[in-house]
Amino acid sequence: MIALRGRIAAQRIEGLDRDVWRIGDTTPSPDRAQMLRAGTIPVPGFGLFLVAHDAGILVNEPPGMSILLPIELSYVSTGDVIAITPDRTGVRVLWRTASPVNSVLLTEQCDNFCLMCSQPPRKVDDHWLLEQATELISMLDRDTSGLIFTGGEPTIFGSDFLELLSNCREQIPDAAIHVLTNGRRFSNQAFAEDYAAVAGRSVTAGIPIYGSEPSLHDFIVQADGAFNETVNGILNLAALGSPIELRVVLQKHTAPWIREIADFIARNLPFVDQVALMGLEMTGFARSNFNDVWIDPYDYADDLAEAARHLDSAGIPTAIYNHQLCLLDRSVWPLAVQSISDWKQEYEPICSGCEVREQCCGFFATGRRQVSAHIAPVMRTDPLEEAEPNLTIQEEFSYQTGASLVGLNSANGDIANPPLDDMQTTFVMITRKPESGDPE
């Protein structure tokens, strides 16, 4: 496991006017930090010097302000970005060039309070996280290919969050951006429109859905009305053409309903770009609420497989995250993704004999290690030919918006005058072209 934050071991940064620093190469620049390891010669002209904890006795004293990194953060290298916390006691690693996907935390505040949240929300003023993220974006290479904004709930910052997205579109125009959000704020039509205008097609909202109706979802996120706001938010984004990923976390309460949740999505939200069916990360609340959220994935394997095949049959790109292959029905192996980030991925000792380990997501190194009683090495590799990991973000959009108004003519009085705003009345789900193969 790779640490992403730590306490500053020692520092000489009195009067330093910036907190976010990118590590430069050998060319000195006041905007870059130089990483000093054993044998590195400090070059005057860098704005900050980062000293590796294991650097030993430096050849020369750093010719400027400097920080001694803790041992667990001493891996940072050229291109990486670090940030000093506002109280100047800690360092966070904001960007690792070696990582295939970088997650950027925007806030710890959230209006959901999920039973199994891996990043428990806190009521704090942490606007500085957003500000540091904004600085980070301005330092990235223009051809950066992608990143994930996570929280807490990023949309809690409203227009400041949208401005961050706008900066991303300008400064890293090719980046595919994923925003992990509970989606509730998008139920506000004006906000959804502003978001869609900024986000365009390059920002995907990853939105959790934990039930097929309000009672289960609202219980799991511990917030009344959350389901309706989230689904309305999804509908608003869809009508505006914004890419959407739905994320369903399988835990003790959702697993018995996973087939219904899949059917709800297939029938009501078939236009989404992807559905991710995700295993638990036993950290944060999931750890403290262990008895209320843990279920052995073996116990729901059949239902998970049927749900995944259902979504797949409905033409919805579907991925299974955080589930070890030995616990998955082989029919859905092709949908399984190596989803656990490199910095927190591990395997069990028993996995050493497994022939599909290289294709398997492994285990979270974070939090409590809770392993299914049914983990076992897989000895037959042949069916894996088709078990290529799924793509994580689908480019192609599967619905059209802006179709002309379609009048309702139903005998059901309930829907004769539905409470719809203008935008939604023009929105129909078109998931595929009309059938062409049916002769008389």
């Binding site: 097929s212 109706e213 309000p214 009672s215 289960l216 389901f227 309706n228 689904v231 309305n232 509908l235 309903w257 219904e260 059917d263 709800f264 297939a266 029938r267 009501n268 078939p270 049927e306 095949r309 259902h310 049959s313 409905a314 033409g315 179709a403 002309s404 379609v406 309702l408 003519n409 139903s410 005998a411 059901n412 309930d414 829907i415 539905p418 409470p419 719809l420 939604q424 009345t425 929105f427 129909v428 789900m429 078109i430 998931t431 595929r432 072209k433 009309p434 059938e435 062409s436 193969g437 049916d438 002769p439 008389e440």
Partner: protein, 463 residues
């Protein structure tokens, strides 16, 4: 909420979009009497938008979205354009839906002028994607006109930025190199008849030499080899001789690598009604036949043979998705005129192929006009089309409006006109209603009780 009691006692409860749950009778009574307390069931019924919290408007919005989606395709009428290029045929089938004419008789071919007038109408329809189907008689007896129409249509499609595709419905007896070459060049599909094993097919389809089956099989193989497996679809007609032999029929299709099987009922038109052969078996017998065939197809699926039953696929698409099926005969509003329209060899325009068959029996109810006398507006806005569409619309039809299966079913004004003399029909006496209700019951139960079938059904629904 609508409901329907299954023969075994369970109750199907459905919402306005056709989503359903299957309840035990006791559960249904609790629901209908407002004393349901089982939280799992309440949650399930809320998920399916069958019940809702009165303060909760989202289920209503989602239902409206689903219903709107289903009807959205109506704006794009008319997709299927049937050109009867000749009434001549060299077969003499007992149940032929159009009166036979011996193949050497003149005066039953469509002219170029009529074809041009028909294309004028076809390309005025709002549909952005047209399908032109050549029918007869045996259309290959007038292959020259087919070539003319294909070339004209391709040119118009290019000019108007529309898609056009073609299919020839033929018994394959006249398939030659020239036809194959033309079909390959213009990507034309072939639709043919295959009633199952040799004895059934040849008994149904007499021709000189008694070799209809052999010619069909030879033609099917040839099309598969030279035009590709996706270029051919075969349809069967069910007769009394077919009943009890569903498994053999399915196996014949599979042996020929025809993996779409359409287990159809016989239709009561044309010679079929005159020979009364549609009365020769009852709905129950047909449903047994259908059930046998469907079970056998699912068993083949279990062995890995990807064969599909098309009628089930049509219904399952309506049952399990928000999309309307492309199938013309199971829609409400009815598919006549707005899903398919027929241009007869003589320039008469009919609202459906069955409507044309009735006209051959001197009933011109579904004749919309003539290409040489009337305009496009006369065809689509005339009472001959609007009255049957309006009067048969299932959501306003007695017994259909409150039927749990309404979303899976359709309106068939031509059938009901032919059998009871009005567009609406009387559902308790309607073989259309009985037959389809039986199929819906079968499919709902299989979908609920058999997880393998459920997985297959979802694939069929979305293909």
């Amino acid at each position: 909420m609508t409901f329907h009691r299954l023969p075994a006692g369970r109750v199907v409860v459905a919402n306005a979009a056709g989503e359903h749950v299957l309840l035990e009778r006791s559960e249904f009574l609790e629901l209908s009497e407002g004393r349901l307390e089982d939280l799992r069931l309440i949650r399930l019924l809320r998920s399916k938008h069958i019940i809702r919290d009165p303060a909760d408007s989202l289920p209503v919005e989602l239902l409206a979205l689903k219903v709107r989606t289903r009807y959205a395709a109506l704006a794009e009428f008319t997709k299927l354009h049937i050109f009867v290029v000749t009434l001549r045929c060299e077969h003499s089938c007992q149940y032929c839906q159009v009166s036979r004419r011996s193949s050497n008789r003149e005066g039953y071919d469509m002219s170029e002028a009529t074809a041009v007038a028909a294309l004028d109408v076809a390309f005025r329809t709002p549909s952005s994607s047209l399908k032109i189907e050549f029918q007869g008689g045996e259309p290959l007896l007038n292959f020259e006109l087919i070539q003319f129409i294909v070339q004209q249509a391709e040119q118009r499609a290019l000019e108007l930025d529309k898609d056009v595709s073609f299919v020839i419905t033929t018994n394959l007896a006249l398939l030659d190199d020239n036809v194959i070459r033309f079909c390959r060049t213009h990507d034309i599909g072939i639709s043919t008849s295959l009633d199952g094993p040799r004895d059934i097919h040849n008994a149904n389809r007499p021709r000189p030499g008694q070799n209809s089956w052999e010619l069909a099989v030879e033609g099917i193989r040839r099309v598969q080899e030279e035009l590709g497996h996706n270029s051919i679809a075969a349809l069967m007609t069910t007769t009394e001789a077919s009943l009890g032999r569903a498994v053999e029929i399915v196996d014949t299709y599979v042996e020929l690598d025809l993996l779409d099987v359409f287990l159809r009922p016989i239709s009561p038109y044309g010679l079929a009604i005159r020979s009364r052969s549609h009365l020769a078996y009852d709905v129950e017998a047909w449903l047994r036949f259908y059930s046998d065939g469907l079970s056998h197809i699912l068993d083949l699926n279990r062995l890995g043979v990807p064969v599909v039953e098309r009628y089930a696929a049509v219904i399952l698409r309506k049952m399990l998705t928000n999309d309307e099926s492309g199938y013309v005969d199971l829609r409400s509003p009815a598919g006549i005129g707005i899903a398919a329209i027929v241009y007869n060899y003589d320039g008469d325009v009919y609202a459906s192929d069955e409507g044309r068959m009735l006209a051959e029996m001197a009933d011109t109810t579904f004749r919309l006009g003539n290409l040489h006398e009337d305009q496009y507006e006369d065809f689509v806005l005339g009472e001959a089309l609007l009255a049957p569409l309006d009067e048969s619309f299932a959501l306003s039809a007695p017994m259909c409006s409150e039927c749990a299966f309404e979303r899976y079913c359709g309106a068939d004004p031509v059938y009901h006109h032919a059998t009871t003399g009005d567009f609406l029909g009387r559902k308790p006496l309607s073989a259309f209603c009985q037959r389809n209700t039986g199929v819906f019951e079968l499919l709902v139960e299989r979908h609920h009780d058999d997880s393998f079938a459920r997985g297959q059904f979802r694939k069929w629904a979305s293909r």
